[in-house]
């Protein structure tokens, strides 16, 4: 069995990935890559990060046996990797802490980030507050509207939010603007990318920082079940929570791995965010990966009820894992996700974010009355507080009644 050793030194996952940016950014990325390689061997850095994980984030996150949901599905034993219990309510903080420590080491004095659902924005604003660095968050005006609680959180944390009015006014455009800011402020600014997307070394770096999820889950499941899980399931937008869970299991060929994308109103409609189901390989935000595009290579607007999955691209490593068939990817519609959102809340007393609700929906749909005696770990990567207004509106619940 070949050991998994991606990416290559130039940031290639097979053909995917790479560095497709203008010459203004190239020297910065090469420098970032160098600095990242250096700190990987730095014991002090590791210790500092682990201390923060433990005492600031509250890691390890628990592995919860979702008994009621398992009974309802009447199939496998379902475990939730509860990264929604992290400080700031999602997995995003894992990566932000890693990157801000790196930014500090590199002597950068200004932080920028893009955000969709606002979870990465909140996590970035949080670590900036902790390390007393000025923080600028680019957020599509459409997302500002649908993620108001997170907008207020970021403001409380001292961040400046810059509304993005271009394009579809969501995550893709926020990332364009953040990249433009970086090109303009190359000397003092560190760009904390929130997903396993973007040019090398980001996809690798973000995956590495997030892989604490999978490392913990592996230990935890071995302890309670005395064996590896049969399945891993996680939602995929850019793909950072999924890569975090999947990566430490990639060499365990018996573990079947499933990524769930947001199919919006249906993977075959124009209103979808299911990049790997409906897209083709192309270049967006500095890397070669599956992307939603037309026959001329113009990037299409994505659609999903979940702002965190509303992205027409996907991390290059997912594209690679799809092509080598190590991971299977499926789409779940807005409607299916909303149903699972409610089912999980009622059955387990956990209100999930709309993002992992997609993973939950797939689990319920595909495993119902099947795969008995199997063990599943599902990454519950975010909590649903931020989505209450969106969900209430979609379900037709009037809070004033």
């Amino acid at each position: 069995m070949k050991t998994y050793k991606q990416p290559s030194t130039v940031g290639r996952f097979g053909d995917f990935g790479g560095m497709y940016v203008s010459e203004t950014l190239m020297p910065l990325l090469l420098n970032l890559d160098k600095s990242y390689k250096k700190i990987q061997k730095d014991k002090k850095f590791k210790k500092e990060l682990n201390d923060l994980f433990k005492n600031y984030v509250g890691r390890p996150s628990s592995l919860h046996y979702a008994k009621n949901l398992s009974k309802y599905i009447n199939g496998p034993k379902v475990y939730f990797k509860r990264d929604e219990l992290n400080h700031t309510g999602a997995h995003k903080i894992n990566n932000c802490l890693g990157q801000i420590l790196l930014a500090k080491k590199m002597g950068k004095t200004r932080i920028i980030a893009e955000t969709g659902a606002g979870q990465h924005g909140v996590a970035t604003a949080t670590v900036c507050a902790l390390f007393s660095l000025p923080c600028y968050i680019y957020m599509g005006s459409k997302d500002i509207e649908r993620q108001k609680p997170n907008v207020f959180r970021m403001k409380l944390l001292g961040a400046t939010i810059i509304p993005v009015e271009s394009g579809s006014k969501s995550l893709k455009d926020a990332m364009n603007e953040a990249l433009r800011d970086w090109i303009k402020n190359v000397r003092d600014t560190f760009y904390i990318i929130g997903s396993t997307a973007g040019p090398h070394p980001y996809p690798k770096m973000v995956r590495d920082f997030q892989s604490v999820i999978g490392k913990e889950a592996r230990e935890q499941i071995l302890k309670v079940e005395k064996k590896l899980p049969d399945y891993l399931i996680a939602c995929v937008g850019g793909g950072s929570n999924a890569m975090g869970l999947f990566y430490p299991f990639l060499n365990d060929k018996k573990v079947k791995i499933i990524g769930v994308e947001a199919a919006g109103r249906g993977a075959k409609t124009e209103e979808t965010a299911a990049t790997m189901t409906s897209g083709t390989p192309g270049i967006l935000h500095g890397s070669y990966s599956y992307v939603l595009q037309d026959s001329d290579g113009q990037i299409k607007e994505a659609h999903s009820i979940s702002a965190g999955l509303d992205y027409p691209g996907v991390g290059p490593e997912h594209s690679y894992l799809k092509d080598i068939k190590r991971v299977k990817y499926f789409g779940i519609t807005d409607k299916e996700a909303l149903e699972a959102f409610q089912t999980c809340s009622k059955l387990e007393g956990i209100i999930p974010a709309l993002e992992p609700s997609h993973a939950l929906a797939y689990l319920i749909k595909a495993f119902k009355n099947k795969h008995k005696n199997k063990v599943v770990i599902l990454n519950l990567c975010g909590r649903g507080d931020k989505d209450l207004f969106t969900a209430a509106k979609a379900i037709g619940f009037d809070a004033d009644e």
Binding site: T24, G167, I183, Q298
Partner: protein, 258 residues
């Protein structure tokens, strides 16, 4: 023959304009106007949905062109049509890699061969250029190199080895059409580039007026300038009145052709 190889020694003028802006028909008129002034180079921007290295003005031009459903083929046909009036002006395409990739590199080259002299692929760094550069060079199309203030000497040396056509020096660390010009820095970097390469160095990004053009030529060692955003800006300044825009464009180009 590649007309970029016989550029004048000094005061080279390169004008950038987005294809299909604001519509295909109007675009033809704009380029005809530009051509009538016989600038040394015209850069044809191919519209892209996500032009991450461009500022708000060129973004808007891209958006307008794409709104009228302009295809890559139509842009390339426009350039081919205009090449009849090319005379001594060199034609250069400026675009993002996804446009070329999706169109197909070989098909792309077939469509521009013999009348396009150079191509600038904004998001194709030296590290990724391999096969593309080879195919272009086989067809006598120069892959134009960009050098930024962030590019250090060692990297510049690597990039500029065998450079052809001209070198696009990004005068400000910024996106197109933004930031102030730092003549001292420009001069220092241009000088250092000229030690490594014998092809002309043009300064682009942030050149907005006749004064900027004169200052670049007086205060720096650069061989010429590239003007882009400033040409497009006027359209929005004039509240998208196309006839007035065309007149002001004529006046502006006359001014900067010093």
């Amino acid at each position: 023959m590649n007309s970029l190889d016989t550029l004048p020694k000094k005061k080279i003028l390169s004008l950038f304009m987005t294809c299909g802006f604001p519509t295909l028909n109007h675009s033809k008129k704009i380029f005809n106007e530009m051509l009538s002034h016989q600038p040394d180079i015209i850069e044809f921007g191919l519209p892209f949905s996500d032009p991450m290295a461009d500022g708000p003005i060129i973004q808007e031009a891209n958006k307008l062109a794409l709104r009228s459903k302009l295809s890559t083929q139509q842009s390339l046909d426009l350039i081919k049509y205009l090449s009849k009036y090319k005379n001594n002006t060199s034609f250069v395409i400026m675009c993002y890699l996804n446009t070329v990739r999706k169109f197909g590199l070989n098909k792309f080259i077939k469509n521009i061969k013999n009348f396009v002299d150079g191509i600038i692929i904004v998001d194709l760094p030296f590290e990724e250029e391999g096969a593309i550069k080879k195919s272009l060079s086989k067809n006598n199309i120069h892959l134009i190199k960009l050098i930024s203030p962030m590019t250090d000497k060692k990297r510049s040396q690597k990039l500029l080895k065998n450079s052809k056509g001209f070198i696009y020096y990004i005068s400000a660390t910024g996106i197109t059409g933004s930031n102030k010009l730092d003549y001292k820095e420009i001069n220092r970097n241009v000088k250092s580039i000229k030690k490594m390469s014998s092809v002309p160095v043009l300064v682009g990004f942030g050149i907005k007026s006749k004064k900027d053009v004169i200052d670049i030529s007086k205060k720096t060692n650069a061989d010429g300038v590239i003007i882009g955003s400033a040409l497009i800006q006027k359209y929005f300044d004039l509240k998208m009145d196309f006839n007035r825009y065309l007149k002001s464009l004529k006046k502006f180009i006359k001014e900067v052709k010093v």
